[in-house]
């Protein structure tokens, strides 16, 4: 027998595909949920082994570098905890009859295909392949957002599908323009779409074509990131789909699109005559931050509230990367990781809360810390973290972003801090009402799995208290790549 060498970058793609095929054929939902968890765990282990195994050679289609390892590990980790949460969440959905066993079979298979799409987008070295992967991940989430088949879910999925398709069409047009810019210098065919070759030769590309390409790519993938004014799909998709999918959307899918934007930002930065991508990214980032911060005040639906908070944080992250420089990039990267962990933790809590109380309306959620202490305090700690209070990790990354803004563009720090404060006020205002006061609604104990929720919160707290120097060194190295 010939030993097949273990290749983690292949494994993170193959495991989800095999799992999806099995899950699509498996009738029982209990075993399917467990298998989903197992497959996600195996994918996570494969991703972690990227650290220890030898870095594979850069191929025509796949590659691994320091930047995408962060994304892959984060993606598979949250994918794993979300599958744990999902296992306890869907059992309840089945009992209340919101989902049928047939729905669940579809749901689990889609979950793994989505993981495959996202992992493929990260390891793709070909910008065409990356586009296909992002589109695949989007289409699977569209299907899952519409899974409840209610009026609202259908409208949300339809809106998501239409806006997402327009975004993805722009992104493809931008990809074609990049190819056109590369063709005279790299030659026809596959080579002119390989990202590593593109970056090597980017200095001699036609800057005008690159500029136009970046605008299309920024608009296209920016729609997926949820940047204002292209965010309209995001709150609906978060509010109407199953909560595990809201967690995955906020924590992971937005990062996938962000990753694509970053790749092309590096490409543009390698060309001295092209426009700096910074100003465009900073403008869209600040716009999203301030817009979403004000929108937070008028939310009545708890999942919508946190969806707008995701827009706000993606705005901050895009702003940080747009600002550039070692410190801002470092802070942006850290903020992205912290946001993914915190936001998915919040959605884990919100999912169980909504199930126990039977409502997502903020006005009907009161006194959670009394009726359901674990969920209530978990949610409260999550919101305190996402609002940017010390000692949580988001405080640190926001602090770094603000201080690096002061160092580079002091005037821009004013709208940035303003937006942060407005959002902070809105979140605390809402969460005090939800967490404290006279309990309303059902006080039945929640059938919840607390492990994913508190594991995420513990990580965020730990990062706020102490960042291991190995991690800092690693992130600093990546910040250097991002330019």
């Amino acid at each position: 027998m010939i030993a097949i060498p273990f290749q983690p970058e292949i494994a993170v793609l193959v495991i989800p595909v095999v799992a999806a095929a099995v899950l699509a054929a498996l009738p029982g939902y209990r075993i399917a949920a467990r298998l989903n968890v197992l497959a996600s765990l195996l994918t996570l282990l494969a991703a972690l082994s990227l650290f220890v195994t030898k870095r594979p050679e850069t191929g025509t289609y796949l590659f691994v570098d320091d930047l995408n390892i962060v994304f892959i590990v984060l993606n598979t980790f949250v994918g794993f905890t979300a599958s744990l949460f999902s296992a306890s969440y869907i059992a309840h959905e089945l009992e209340t009859g919101r989902l049928t066993p047939a729905n669940l079979r579809f749901y689990h298979a889609m979950y793994q295909i989505m993981m495959f799409g996202m992992n493929l987008a990260f390891v793709a070295n070909n910008i065409g392949l990356m586009w296909v992967a992002v589109e695949l991940a989007t289409l699977t989430t569209v299907m899952m957002v519409g899974i409840y088949r209610t009026h609202e879910a259908l409208e949300a999925a339809w809106k998501y599908f239409l806006l997402g398709s327009v975004g993805i069409a722009f992104a493809l047009f931008g990809t074609i323009l990049v190819y056109l810019a590369a063709r005279p210098h790299i030659g026809e065919g596959d080579d002119a779409m390989i990202w590593t070759l593109l970056v090597e030769h980017a200095a001699v590309f036609d800057p005008a074509l690159l500029n136009l390409a970046f605008i299309f790519l920024m608009l296209g993938y920016g729609t997926k990131v949820g940047l204002a004014p292209l965010h309209a799909w995001l709150p609906d998709a978060h509010a109407e789909g199953p909560t595990p999918i809201s967690a995955v959307l906020s924590g992971l899918l937005l990062n996938v699109a962000l990753y694509a934007v970053l790749r092309f930002k590096i490409l543009l930065a390698a060309n001295p005559d092209a426009i700096g991508p910074g100003p465009l990214m900073m403008t869209l980032g600040l716009l999203s931050l301030i817009f979403a911060a004000f929108m937070l005040y008028r939310r009545r639906d708890i999942k919508r509230l946190f969806a707008y908070s995701s827009i706000e944080h993606m705005g901050i992250i895009v702003f940080a990367f747009g600002l550039g420089g070692p410190l801002a990039n470092f802070a942006g990267l850290l903020h992205m990781v912290m946001h993914s962990l915190t936001k998915s933790a919040i959605f884990y809590a919100v999912g169980h809360v909504a199930q126990v109380k039977g409502t997502q309306r903020i006005s009907e959620l009161r006194g959670l810390t009394e009726s359901h202490p674990a969920l209530g305090w978990g949610l409260l700690v999550g919101v305190v973290a996402i609002a940017g209070l010390p000692p949580m990790g988001i405080f640190m990354s926001e602090f770094l972003i603000v201080s690096s803004t002061f160092a580079v563009q002091p005037l821009l720090a004013i709208p940035l801090v303003f937006g942060l404060l407005v959002a902070f006020g809105a979140l605390l205002l809402r969460v005090t009402g939800i967490a404290f006061g006279e309990p309303t609604g059902s006080t039945a104990p929640a059938q919840a799995s607390y492990v994913p929720l508190f594991a995420h919160l513990a990580l965020v707290l730990a990062a706020g208290l102490y960042l291991p120097s190995a991690l800092v060194g690693w992130f600093q190295h990546i910040a250097g790549i991002l330019g």
């Binding site: 065409g128 299907m143 519409g146 609202e152 339809w158 599908f161 398709s165 779409m193 309306r361």
Partner: protein, 220 residues
């Protein structure tokens, strides 16, 4: 490249823009579907011509997909859906036909100005194709925003995808991976749409997206 082959390529790409304009003023659903079939047919000719002049036989595959799938199968299926739903009645356009046509002309002018200015050094066929492709893309977007009916929004989206294929084939030597993936994505998109139409029908007995709008925004 001889001037004749250039002119024919130009003619076909320009024809695609014209057919996109025809979509803007169709006020009956079945007529719109027929215009879409014509759109796909012109795309087929254009792609096939590119395959001929670029000596790129793989583009014939893209042309065949455009012809078989987009010009024949999809229109037939859409006609079937429309008949089954009994919605042969007029399309309600959000904006009138006049302003829509004016907006379309503005968009075409915009894409010409943008692309032709930016690419003076690129090879002429590629840059003209690109400007036509961007026009088709923007016109498809216009169809999507001016219609309220789910079926016509889908047609707008598919014409937008046709613009993307025109751009991809105009870029000489673009790898086949991309063309197949584009065709593939259309298949997926169509499945998605099919499911959606089915579900919308199941719930509302209408495919008028306007009926969904009442649920927009916050639940009260």
């Amino acid at each position: 490249m001889t001037s004749l082959s250039f002119d024919i390529a130009h003619l076909l790409a320009g024809g695609l823009v014209l057919v996109s304009f025809m979509m803007l003023y169709q006020d009956r659903l079945s007529a719109l579907i027929n215009v879409y079939a014509l759109h796909a047919l012109v795309l087929t000719l254009s792609v096939a011509w590119q395959a001929q002049v670029q000596h790129a036989p793989h583009l014939y595959v893209t042309a065949a997909i455009a012809l078989g799938f987009k010009a024949v199968v999809i229109p037939l299926v859409l006609h079937r859906i429309v008949r089954r739903l009994g919605i042969h009645r007029d399309i309600e356009t959000v904006v009138g036909i006049g302003p829509t046509m004016l907006a379309g002309m503005g968009l075409v002018a915009l894409s010409m100005v943008v692309i032709l200015r930016i690419t003076p050094e690129a090879d002429p066929l590629a840059r003209e194709d690109l400007s036509f492709a961007l026009s088709v893309l923007l016109l498809g977007l216009l169809v999507m925003v001016t219609r309220r009916n789910a079926v016509s929004q889908v047609i707008g989206f598919m014409s937008l995808e046709n613009g993307l294929i025109l751009a991809a084939t105009g870029a000489r030597g673009m790898p086949l991976v991309v063309e197949i993936s584009v065709a593939f994505s259309i298949v997926i998109a169509f499945i998605v749409i099919g499911i959606f139409l089915f579900r919308i029908r199941e719930r509302f007995d209408t495919v008028d997206v306007g009926a969904l709008d009442s649920f927009r925004g916050e639940r009260r």
